[in-house]
Amino acid sequence: MSSRVLPQFDLLTPQSIPEAVAMLAQHQGQVSVLAGGTDMLVWNYIRKVKPAYLLRLSGLDDLDNVNYIPGEGLRIGAKAKVVQLLDNPDVAEKFPALFQAAETFATPQIRNMATVMGNVLRGSPAGDCSCAILALGGQVVLQGPEGERLVDIDDFWVAYGVTERKDDELAVELRIPEPTSTTRSAFIRMTRVHEDLAKLNVAVCLEINQNTCQQVRISMGCVGPILVRLKQTEKMLVGKQISDGLLQQLAASAQEEIAPIDDQRSTEEYRRQVAGVILKRVIEKAIGAH
């Protein structure tokens, strides 16, 4: 339920990244970063948060782009919107899991407003772009008073809604490594109704050579307080030929590895049941078996 009026706050509009970091340091704990606002303003409406200051990104240049750099990978600026993933042919071709996450994400209006970075910083286990990025691997670039640091996406989420970012740091860029000619990836999500948040989402990124899996990262959402990698299940896949029998074993392993709960969008039992099925489907989707 939304109150029609936002609570009172003050706005900070830094004109450079160092100025933004200085403002975050000065008002530590009292300031929230405002990107697209599709989470932040909703939380303000429902008074889930009541920051004294919102720090806008509008005055900051050079954070708008989604760039593919051959030999390095994908760079997503902190102000890049989800729609920009759909408009970029390199994302569709080289990072299908991320493209597919953007395709199912919210509504056209929200995709024009929401940033990819906001999805990662929000730290929700249901984040669709976040789920794809965890499978693809990568880093979050943070700028703080001591300069820049890179945090691996595997270590970035620490608890529900909590990330490695410190209060005086601004997230400036997402980096996703260059795929090889044998990299395949895919994303699937399940929802109650189309525009709802996921009740389960899954992404996979594999290195496949002659139907043998050489490396794999599997991420699943809505099965714990943060997005998780299914590392035991990954191990069962490495070095193996992908077959129906193996996919069955992986499905069973995924069911064991997750720790879902009952909530408003689904139940523990249901999530466990379908986790194995959607894992099989996402692997088949990635390798183009169906």
Binding site: V5, L6, P7, L11, L34, N112
Partner: protein, 169 residues
């Protein structure tokens, strides 16, 4: 309460006014500028009733946008689609197809349609349906709205849309 002088360019006209910094674009349009054609439905980005066009192309939810964030952009509301008393082809198409019942969703639907057609002048039925994902209608059952978008696409001179870089002013 902190306030700020804000300049918003709406339907080709600049408006300068003082507003609290927590004003949403939707409140600024409705309450400060008295342009009440843009509707409040849910306030949380889900219904599309508050959809406006930015810079002739991008549709956004004005309920989840701070007014200050819209400074320097060209905002078009459904009121700006009508020029010199002449209805826009999209408006005519909605009327002729009977795509309006209570009309509450219509301003948002028209602006979303403007965005769909500005980005893709000849959308398929599938693209229209996907394109209207973020706009809820409690009355029509959507069939006639989809037909109206198809009709508008046929009525409009597509080269003109592309040349002018979008819709509205």
């Amino acid at each position: 309460m902190r306030t700020k002088m804000i300049t918003l360019c709406v339907n080709g006209r600049d408006h300068r006014f003082e507003a609290p910094v927590n004003r949403t674009l939707l409140q600024a349009l409705r309450d400060d500028l008295k342009l009440t054609e843009t509707k409040y439905g849910c306030g949380t980005g889900e219904c599309g009733g508050c959809t406006v066009l930015m810079d002739g192309k991008d549709s956004i939810c004005s309920c989840l946008t701070l007014a200050v964030e819209a400074e320097g952009r060209h905002i078009t509301t459904v009121g700006g689609m009508t020029q010199d008393g002449e209805l826009h082809p999209i408006q005519i198409a909605f009327i002729e197809e009977g795509a309006i019942q209570c009309g509450y969703c219509t301003p948002g639907m028209i602006m979303r349609t403007a965005s769909i057609l500005a980005n893709n002048p000849t959308p398929s039925e599938e693209e229209i349906r996907r394109g209207l994902d973020g706009n809820l209608c409690r009355c029509t059952g959507y069939e006639k709205i989809v037909q109206a978008v198809q009709r508008a696409s046929q009525m409009m001179d597509t080269t003109q849309i592309q040349k002018s870089g979008g819709m509205g002013q």
